[in-house]
Amino acid sequence: MKMTRKEFLKLSGACLVVLSGGEAATVFEGADRNETRATSARRAAKQWAMLIDTAKCAKDKGCTNCIEACAGAHNIPSIPDSAHEVKWIWEERFENVFDSYQTQYMAEARKQQLTPVLCNHCDDPPCVRVCPTDATWKREDDGLVMMDWHRCIGCRYCMAACPYGSRSFNWIDPRPYIKHLNPDFPTRTKGVVEKCDFCAERLAKGRQPACVEACPEKALLFGDVKDQKSEIRQVLASANTLRRKPELGTGPNVYYDL
């Protein structure tokens, strides 16, 4: 059988399409999966969240029980040099926490009011997206943004990506700065990023985060926002709550009751 040049080209073109079709389909499928990865987090079975009652918190001026409880539970160093500070939960002035909600007429005392801030365990965490080693990830079963300090290489991309400044870098060995070493929790080493993990180790044992337990005013409420019957959902249904920088689309899971 004799084949013209035109027929040969037609046939080989058709063969190419058939052969590459499967490959192309997987590529497009993959792109689709990447797109839905963020939204799948929103459909997680469980999502731990925190509601901070700022009025209750302000009642007890100078109280830092939540910060101390956290530091004690997680071996967080208290480094006097602010350039080397490590923070999981800390206080910021209201005007800095909610800069877009303040007005020119707001009382100075209100602007200066200290508000606890911590990792927001976002629905679509930008820190997770940029981590080159998968050292931080969104846990699918309960929505925690976890960290694996064994795997962190200290590139600090996540710190650049986090719009809330929730992550700290260990510029120096933290051990000498830990007031009370807790043997039940590891310390970190120099060159590792760390942040609040909503006390994953306590949640595994059915206990609430250390800061929630330590608050004398019970200003911190912790629960699963995917569970309609949870107390946090009941409060969120009626209270006037804010989240930090929701316009960025990160879907923070720490709510503030003003």
């Binding site: 200290l114 009370h180 929790f185 080493t189 044992k205 609430q208 929630v212 912790f222 699963d224």
Partner: protein, 194 residues
């Protein structure tokens, strides 16, 4: 025969040099015998058979690490049917002493101390760092830098520790945290038994 003295002197030096390692280890009181490790009194069996632990404890520890950190799975079903919590400090060090067990064998085998201990805390070391003894250690490594945490607690987020702890909150001991029942959390044992 006039060289006899030199020959004998050289022989003495030679024998001395050849036997030097023996003298050296005699002086250092080392021995080639492997360390005899005390068996823990708490348990009769380890989480895996001894030969496996001897050859592959590092693999087991890495598996435990990945399982706890990455998968959130903290329970280990052992060969003997028992369940253990996968925890270096909580389970391994409950029986074994880091210095008397881990370090001695690592020293003997010439295997450097692994970096586990850069982060994981030997419970025996923990009390040494607690209390006032640790206070002098918290010094600013770069004294030329002004410490702003004292000067502007509003900005830094008042990290002044001990003096601000409120002791009065123990009065609320009998009342459990408010959402214990609603969300099924366990109560704080610190509160019920201060």
């Amino acid at each position: 025969m006039r060289d006899r003295i030199w020959i004998i002197a050289a022989l003495i030096v030679f024998v001395g040099l050849v036997t030097y390692p023996a003298w050296r280890s005699l002086e250092a009181r080392t021995t080639s015998r492997p360390p005899t490790l005390l068996l823990p009194k708490l348990e009769k069996e380890c989480v895996a058979p001894t030969p496996y632990m001897r050859s592959s404890h590092m693999k087991l520890l890495l598996d435990w690490r990945d399982s706890v950190v990455r998968d959130g799975q903290r329970q280990y079903l052992a060969f003997n049917g028992k369940t253990y919590e996968m925890s270096l400090t909580g389970t391994c060090l409950k029986c074994h002493d880091k210095q008397a067990f881990c370090d001695r064998c690592h020293d003997y085998a010439g295997v450097p101390t692994p970096y586990c201990w850069d982060c994981h805390v030997d419970p025996k070391l923990a009390p040494m760092q607690s209390g006032p003894a640790s206070t002098p250690r918290t010094v600013n490594p770069s004294p030329s830098v002004v410490i702003p945490s004292e000067a502007r607690p509003d900005l830094i987020g008042a990290r002044n520790l001990a003096p601000k702890v409120k002791t009065g909150r123990d009065s609320s001991a009998p009342t459990a945290p408010r959402n214990d029942k609603a969300s099924g959390f366990l109560p704080d044992p610190q509160r019920s038994a201060p």
